[in-house]
């Protein structure tokens, strides 16, 4: 066993995750390296779900009966936990959505329907980057198409970093909103928030941060980020599918118009007009993902008990080790920073001219689960002139042995197609 400084006690942690015991293909031990796509769930989260459904399940907010009060307390309690997890100044700034994609679409739609000074229209510009996940590209393309606003973006350097050399020309007085990813899901790059936020604030643009690959892996402090909105998604951070988060600054959530209309989000309704509840409820139309929020609350408790700083250190050590070992695999080219500095736990690479699909298939046969394709970030593949990548991504339960298995597996791939 390889020992690296900073590693967590993965032997203990892995016991919490029932799925990690699984075998595939006739008894091969599963090596799960697809954490950037979704994480596995600890027993503690599954217990919280079962407890909710077996003991307290009811619709929230509108009942005086015991179950309804319990369900409401659990749901709103999850909001408190998430608010604390990201150091939100107020719990009312935490909006529950169905995933990060909805969170980002929510912001784009709010800004499209907003009054001045927020309104995005044909005289304004939207800025994103070339390393965004499709979920932080398409909503802005749609907004641009529908409002006539201009969509601009930061390109990438050969090293897999944002090219901010012309930042003052990209973000200008016409820029209404700048939306960018904190940690890239394909390149692994951690972006320089401060530089971008400073320039955006200079011109009075709103800042949206896609923290989908950050919230699971490092301490997240929305106040320290200085952004106006931060989006992330539950399923990548030990929580159930079906829940996402949008954090937004209180006065913005108060000023901006609603997105989806329906039950829960209203103050009073007549046939001809309605008034809306205060945030966060204004943005939570219909029966919310109650059990999923409860699960997210349990996930946040689980992660916090271990410590986000320790999880970050664990992954940092592992990425360092993985980058070093992968660099020794013949014909392997890392797409993204070839260092562990300012780098998250997802490592994309190509292997000679063996197509990632083939790489993934042969690895799978050995029990190693990696993701292959464009990882919902096709512009990055275009930028680096490749059709796709193979991506290995780690989490708190990943081990040096997982990295070793991957490296051995790649050797096998090379032989297979050699």
């Amino acid at each position: 066993m390889t020992h690296l400084p900073g590693l967590l006690d993965t032997e203990a942690i892995r016991k919490d995750f029932p799925l990690l015991d699984r075998t595939v293909h006739d008894g091969k031990k599963l090596v799960y390296l697809d954490n950037a796509a979704t994480s596995q769930k600890p027993r503690q989260v599954l217990d919280a779900l079962n407890d909710y459904y077996e003991k307290s399940n009811a619709n929230v907010h509108r009942g005086v009966h015991t179950l309804a009060e319990e369900a409401t307390a659990l749901y709103e309690g999850a909001r408190d936990r998430v608010a604390a997890f990201v150091n939100a100044p107020s719990r009312d700034e935490v909006v529950f959505t169905k995933n990060a994609s909805e969170s980002l679409n929510l912001v784009a739609n709010m800004l499209g329907w907003a009054d001045e000074p927020y309104r995005v229209d044909r005289d304004t510009e939207i800025v994103i980057t070339e390393m965004e996940h499709h979920s932080n590209i398409v909503p802005w393309q749609l907004l641009a198409q529908r409002t006539g606003a201009k969509l601009k973006w930061f390109g990438l350097t050969d090293e897999g970093r944002l090219d901010l050399s012309r930042i003052d020309e990209v973000i200008t007085e016409r820029t209404k909103v700048v939306s960018f990813v904190l940690v890239s899901n394909i390149l692994g790059t951690v972006n320089p928030v401060e530089t971008i936020v400073r320039r955006a604030q200079e011109v009075g643009a709103l800042v949206v941060i896609d923290a989908s690959q950050a919230a699971p892996h490092m301490p997240l402090d929305v106040q320290a980020l200085g952004a106006d909105f931060v989006a992330f998604t539950g399923h990548k951070m030990c929580a159930p599918t079906g829940i996402g988060v949008l954090w937004g600054r209180q006065e913005l959530l108060e000023d901006l118009p609603p997105f989806l209309g329906g039950g829960e989000m209203i103050e009073t309704v007549t046939m001809s007009s309605s008034t809306y509840a205060p945030a966060p409820h204004k943005f939570e139309a219909g029966t919310p993902p109650i059990a999923q929020a409860v699960g997210l609350g349990a996930a946040v408790d689980y992660l916090s008990a271990i410590g986000m700083d320790r999880i970050e250190a664990h992954e940092h050590a592992l990425v360092q080790y993985a980058v070093d070992r992968l660099c020794q695999v013949p014909d392997l080219r890392i797409i993204g920073p070839v260092t562990a500095e300012d780098r998250g736990a997802a490592i994309s690479f190509t292997l000679g001219d063996i197509h990632p699909h083939d790489v993934g298939q042969v690895l799978d046969e050995q029990g190693i689960a990696v993701r292959v394709g464009h990882h919902c970030a096709r512009p990055v593949c275009l930028r680096y002139g490749i059709p796709a990548t193979t991506r290995a991504s780690f989490y708190l339960y990943s081990t040096p042995a997982d990295v070793d298995a991957l490296v051995d597996g790649l050797e096998h791939v090379r032989n297979f197609f050699g």
Partner: protein, 158 residues
Amino acid sequence: MKLDSMYQDVILDHYKHPHGRGLRDGDAEVHHVNPTCGDEITLRVRLAGTTIEDVSYEGQGCSISQASASVLNELLVGKEIDEARRVQEVFLELMQSKGKLEPDDAMEEVLEDAVAFAGVSKYPARVKCALLSWMAWKDATAQALSQGGTTSTQEGTA
């Protein structure tokens, strides 16, 4: 029976025989709604200098919200605004205590009949009912003071 801690006789009394119900002349009028249950109140405040001369109200709601408005009328009419504000704050504190605050003599002296609502604070869904008229009063008083006496209507949330 636990229910008795919410529905104290004092509360049921106020509910059945409300004090000062009905709308009379006022310096400001507000309309507040509890969106979760549809309880509504229209409330007017009339001031004489810094004294609360009248609080008149009309509305739809459960026994808790109705009784609470009645107790408010009984407690606040005739008081100086500053003193009334203190009463309102103590009442708010009690209601947000989740049943964990045992009213002491000092609190009882300030709140009089309103201490009977201590039991309601255990029921989160009903706390808003108890607070509806108090939030409306606070809002109306602020308006009466700032507008120097013009009557207005506005929607707000308890």
